[in-house]
């Protein structure tokens, strides 16, 4: 007898016993599992989900219109996403008033609604609006979400967007993007004397406003991820320079005093830096400027043209395009400029890479065979997919949740000087749901804001 024997008694034997019992249990359960039939479903329908968005019930007189308009804006948001199909309200059976007590789910199943949004609106004693909404699962007959908001009456549109975002998020699991804005370049006048102004609007086109007067040419605006600021390119004395624009007060400021051209600016994910191209003596490299110290640092040193830098959402990597390999291609490098690797290897030229806020994809413009494409690929260059194609598609920008891209499309100009119409379009990253975004004038260079805060 000794420790060996003890070990055997207390460790090995029980272990063997456990193994035997375990094997037995496994046999039993796997027999049970085999007995239960499993049917694999690998195909479904990709139609938008039918949802019913009831008018918001007006608890007191005077809010009827707001109640109707709230539900209209919510329905329009959800419809635009391509993931939801709001049901014509004329088909609704249950009244908005009785809906306040509780939905009669059978009434909503009859019209094929899978989810139902109900709500109410009234004024608070302080004159503000109180909006309440609930999201219902019609089949499971349960409430999925319920929130209430107070806001100044003239801010009701934003509440509608926030509610649409809440519905989107609860049903898809992803953050929404409706409570956001878009800046773009508004274009007017003949092609030979084009006037380009910075303009801003809600993501649905409401609250449109021009930010600059058109006296200087402006291009490539980008939203700050953290502040009400835009960085963009403007020509000053015929030299392109990177500027900052403060949306709150309209103040413009040139970034840095470089000798030469700076262009293609973009914020870092923390909003504290702007990354851009700096061209001098025929060589263009990528630089980063710290907005707090206003100090600039060079990141790439290649004699080729490096441009269009865009950070990954974690700030650790940068994607950009370069002709260092002979033609314009996409590259990824670490944020300090190390470990540069090419990621695009398809036919044609690649430009304007933009890292998705969700991190999983890089969107780009591709030029091949005389046509332009908007596409996406993984950051390692795999799974390239082309989403759109036309005479000229360019400059993709991501929705805050990384689901949707906006870009601009230009039609060809004809011999009589017609055509050349430039408009904004949106497309889901699956390639579905291509839509024009209405703007008062011709539009190019869109940039999506982060979600409003």
């Amino acid at each position: 007898m000794g420790i060996g024997r003890l070990l055997f008694d207390y460790l090995v034997l029980p272990a063997v016993r456990v193994l035997i019992i375990g094997a037995f249990a496994l046999a039993v359960t796997s027999a049970g599992a085999r007995a239960e039939i499993r049917i694999d479903v690998t195909r479904g329908n990709i139609d938008p989900m039918p949802v019913a968005i009831s008018d918001f019930f007006s608890i007191e007189p005077g809010t009827e219109n707001i109640g109707v308009e709230l539900s209209a804006v919510i329905a329009a948001d959800l419809d635009r996403s391509g993931l939801f199909a709001p049901i014509d309200r004329r088909a609704f059976i249950q009244s908005t008033e009785s809906l306040q007590a509780r939905p009669r789910f059978s009434d909503w199943r009859v019209i094929n609604a899978q989810a139902l949004v109900s709500g109410s609106v009234r004024y608070e004693a302080d004159g503000r609006l109180r909006v309440e909404f609930r999201l219902w699962d019609v089949f499971a007959e349960v409430q999925m979400a319920g929130f209430a908001y107070k806001t100044p009456a003239n801010n009701w549109r934003r509440v509608a967007h926030i509610i649409a975002d809440a519905v989107y998020k609860r049903i898809t699991g992803e953050e929404g993007y409706f409570d956001s804005r878009i800046v773009y370049i508004a274009e007017t006048g003949p092609h030979t004397k084009r006037i380009k102004r910075l303009a801003i609007m809600d993501h649905d086109g409401a609250n449109h406003k021009f930010l600059t007067d058109g006296s200087a040419l402006v291009l490539t605006p980008r939203f700050s991820p953290t502040r009400q600021e835009i960085t963009y390119l403007s020509y000053f004395n015929d030299t392109p320079r990177v500027y900052l624009f403060d949306i709150n007060n309209g103040r413009q400021e040139m970034l840095g005093a470089f000798e030469g051209m700076t262009f293609a600016p973009r914020f870092s994910p923390d909003g504290n830096s702007v990354i851009m191209s700096y061209a001098k003596d025929g060589d263009s490299d990528i630089w980063i400027m710290d907005l707090r110290t206003r100090r600039a640092r060079q990141i790439t040193f290649d004699p080729s043209i490096d441009t269009s830098p865009s950070f990954s959402p974690d700030g650790r990597q940068i994607t950009f395009n370069s002709d260092r390999g002979g033609t314009q291609q996409l590259y990824v490098m670490n944020a300090d400029g190390s470990d540069v690797r090419r990621i695009s290897f398809g036919e044609g030229r690649y430009a304007t890479p933009v890292w998705s806020p969700r991190g999983d994809l890089i969107a780009f413009t591709k030029f091949f065979g005389g046509r332009f494409f908007i596409g996406v690929m993984r950051p390692d260059g795999t799974s390239e997919r082309l989403l759109t194609e036309s005479f000229l598609d360019e400059a993709p920008t991501w929705s805050p949740n990384g689901r949707v891209l906006i870009y601009f499309r230009q039609t060809p100009t004809d011999s009589s000087g017609g055509g050349g119409i430039t408009k904004l379009y949106s497309v889901d990253l699956t390639g579905y749901n291509l839509r024009e975004i209405k703007t008062p004038t011709d539009a190019s260079d869109p940039a999506w804001s982060p979600l409003n805060r």
Binding site: I3, L6, Y10, G32, A35, E36, I37, R38, I39, D40, V41, T42, R43, G44, N45, I46, M49, A101, R102, R104, D137, F139, A140, E141, V142, Q143, M144, A145, G146, F147, A148, Y149, K150, T151, N154, N155, R158, V159, I162, A166, R170, I171, T172, G173, E174, T188, K209, T212, D213, G214, Q228, I247, N248, N249, G250, R358, T430, P440, L451, R453
Partner: protein, 293 residues
């Protein structure tokens, strides 16, 4: 001395065994239990953006337990976080002094193509003001209210609903344990075409969210308890813990539940002779082959 030593070892090892038997399960218990609170927080955190959660569905299966829901304690928290989170923003927005003579203002009046904007012609400043105030609204004024308590769920036909749903599982429980139908005879197996029919039958009712992130993690098993006529008596998400810990999975699971609960896809094509095998079975919804086609 050797005896004592042996005794000591023996005691020690016994203790280890006991610990292994007693503590380990606890340990796993802790693991099993821990996720829930964490997930809850996650859910609430995630819902920020100035939203107050009144009611979240806790039980994912169609067994409404309405009482716990309304009183759910966590609600107060999110409000406070949210309200606290908002104030920082207004400052930058409030500061902007009266609109400065920015180019923007000069620009506004000369915008011919903006007929829709009624305030296009009036002097620029008011427009700027309005814009300012809008921003202010955005940042500051949007306040979250307390959860609407005034409309508790129990009302009207709710009791009926409750009774109905409480009723259903009862019937389902005893005879339908999956264990009960172990070892079906080989000859009673479903044919491939019968399996295919069951799969195809549910496809039109399954709304797949293509373009979701990591679709390979969104495969959902739903266990169905069937009536003889092919209608669904009850359905449940098999992986309840993932359902409550992962909001993407929850969304996928709820979509799968909607598919099997959608009466447009019932009755399911259950061959009468195979009812015993299909009294309860699992639908596995796998979106990974559909994504980003």
């Amino acid at each position: 001395m050797p005896m004592r030593k042996a005794f000591l070892y023996s005691a020690l090892l016994h203790a280890t065994m006991v610990a292994a038997v007693v503590v380990v399960p606890y340990f796993f218990d802790i693991f099993g239990v821990d996720p829930l609170p964490v997930e809850d927080k996650q859910l609430i955190d995630v819902e920020i953006a100035g939203l107050t959660e009144t009611t979240e569905r806790r039980a994912p299966n169609p067994l409404p337990k309405p009482q716990p829901k309304p009183e759910a304690a966590p609600e107060p928290e999110p409000e406070e976080t949210k309200v606290a989170a908002l104030p920082p923003q207004p400052k930058p927005v409030d500061e902007p002094p009266p609109p400065e003579p920015v180019p923007a203002e000069a620009a506004v009046p000369e915008t011919p193509p903006l007929p829709a904007l009624p305030r296009a012609k009036p002097t620029p400043p008011p427009k700027e003001d309005e814009f300012e105030s809008m921003l202010k609204d955005l940042a500051q004024e949007l306040k979250v209210d307390t959860p609407p308590e005034d409309k508790p769920e129990p009302q009207g036909d709710f009791l009926e609903d409750l009774a109905k749903s409480l009723d259903t599982p009862d019937r389902a429980v005893e005879p339908d344990q999956p264990v009960a139908q172990m070892a079906p005879i080989l000859g009673n197996r479903l044919t491939l075409s019968e399996e295919d029919a069951l799969s195809r039958h549910i496809e039109p009712c399954w709304n797949v969210q293509i373009g979701a992130r990591n679709p390979e993690e969104l495969t959902v098993d739903i266990r169905l308890y069937m009536n003889r006529d092919g209608t669904v008596r009850r359905a449940e998400v098999v992986d309840q813990s993932k359902m409550s810990s992962d909001r993407f999975y929850r969304a996928a699971a709820e979509a799968a539940m909607r598919a099997v609960l959608n009466r447009r896809c019932q009755p399911l094509p259950i061959p009468p002779k195979k009812y015993e095998q299909l009294k309860s079975f699992v639908y596995r919804f796998d979106p990974s082959k559909m994504v980003g086609r």
